[in-house]
Symmetry: C2
């Protein structure tokens, strides 16, 4: 095996470990809110250190590979995608920590009502995280596109929850502190979804060599023309 | 001039252009809120495209330098710092867009009161952005440390505004929509401050060769021992 292949395999393995840790953090943080489970929230806070450490190790390995192995073409795309995905995963870990902190704030409050759509949004966001990571592992452009397509659904649910929570606040001001915590949870989930979308875009860049960042028109074309692209 | 020096000069120049655009976006977005100036908000939305374009160009140049020029030591640190700073600047640009959008939402509402501490927080955050960029240009570790030290001030002001805005909501539910917009502005400003802190940390890495990310103890030591470090 060439030196660079060993390095790339190690990079992928570390990124998958990072992905698993972050997926877990997102899952636990959300369950901490929904089940009012303090132990889950504390686990998320405890594991943040490992995620941050791994982020720096992955960064160092990726930069080392660029400099020492001078990868080209698909190998170069893999390393640059790894740098970006690593960064998105670390931020998703931070957002899970935010959610865990909100759940601790809310732990002793009576539930205003069944969490509006939070379990529903959380399920959708978790499936985006899972699919984005699977798309990376299996270099699956179709799966990556399905992540991009899910993002609008999250945005719609977010807007609906926002209006619902505002109306609770208006009805009874004593609901305000809890409603603000729930708004924060929804916003953090939405941002986790955005980072999953970034990862899916990186996977498309990796597999197809096209850069879909910041190009909504092209991105829509990628969405709507999967058949033409597969020919 | 060596090839790599030309590349590094170009990289710094592009990053400074990016920094100037983002600083401007932050300034205009905040003035859009404070002055209820719709034109400023629209300028922020219009300039987002240029910031996103420049982000991709800087990324491409930096990766190209790593692969083709194999920089070492200080040159390598400059390129990796540039990649991180670029990413932070692009996100700061997004946050300025968020603030501009909130200002458009609020444009036609009567002001509940003089914006709580928003002009004050905004002034502090803008000075952090400015200092972080100056610290990068002048490789000024002391200035970078002063950015890290300002972050606590922003956090305290943020907490105070939060409580003040919640009390406005509780007093009169008709304040809720505007107070939520103002909370969002404060939160976006706080995140811009966080990205300025990231840039300051990258400057310390660049100048001193120490990585202060995710190491609060070391970071505090860096804060409190500037004299010892300068000896």
């Amino acid at each position: 095996m060439r030196h660079i292949e060993q390095g790339l395999e190690q990079l992928k393995a570390m990124l998958l470990e990072m992905g698993a840790l972050v997926e877990n953090a997102v899952y636990r943080s959300v369950q901490g809110v929904v089940e009012k489970n303090e132990e889950l929230a504390h686990q998320v806070l405890k594991n943040e250190g490992r995620i941050n450490e791994l982020e720096m190790q992955i960064d160092d390995l990726a930069i080392g590979l660029l400099v020492l192995q001078q990868p080209v073409a698909a190998d170069l795309r893999l390393v640059t995608a790894a740098i970006k995905i690593n960064n998105d995963l670390e931020r998703m870990g931070d957002l899970a920590v935010n959610i865990a902190q909100r759940s601790l704030d809310m732990m002793r409050e009576a539930v205003i009502r069944p969490m509006v759509d939070i379990p529903h949004i959380a399920g959708l966001v978790q499936s985006m995280v899972r699919k984005a990571l699977d798309a990376f592992v299996n270099r699956d452009a179709d799966l990556a596109r399905s992540v991009l397509a899910s993002d609008d659904g999250v945005d719609n649910l977010r807007t609906a929850s926002y209006h619902e929570l505002v109306s609770y606040m208006e009805k009874d001001p004593s609901n305000i502190p809890q409603a603000l915590n729930l708004l924060s949870v929804v916003r953090n989930l939405e941002r986790i979804a955005d980072h999953s979308t970034n990862i899916a875009e990186d996977v498309l860049f990796l597999v197809k060599g096209i850069d879909v960042r910041h190009h909504n028109e092209e991105r829509l074309a990628v969405h709507s023309a999967p058949v033409a692209e597969q020919q």
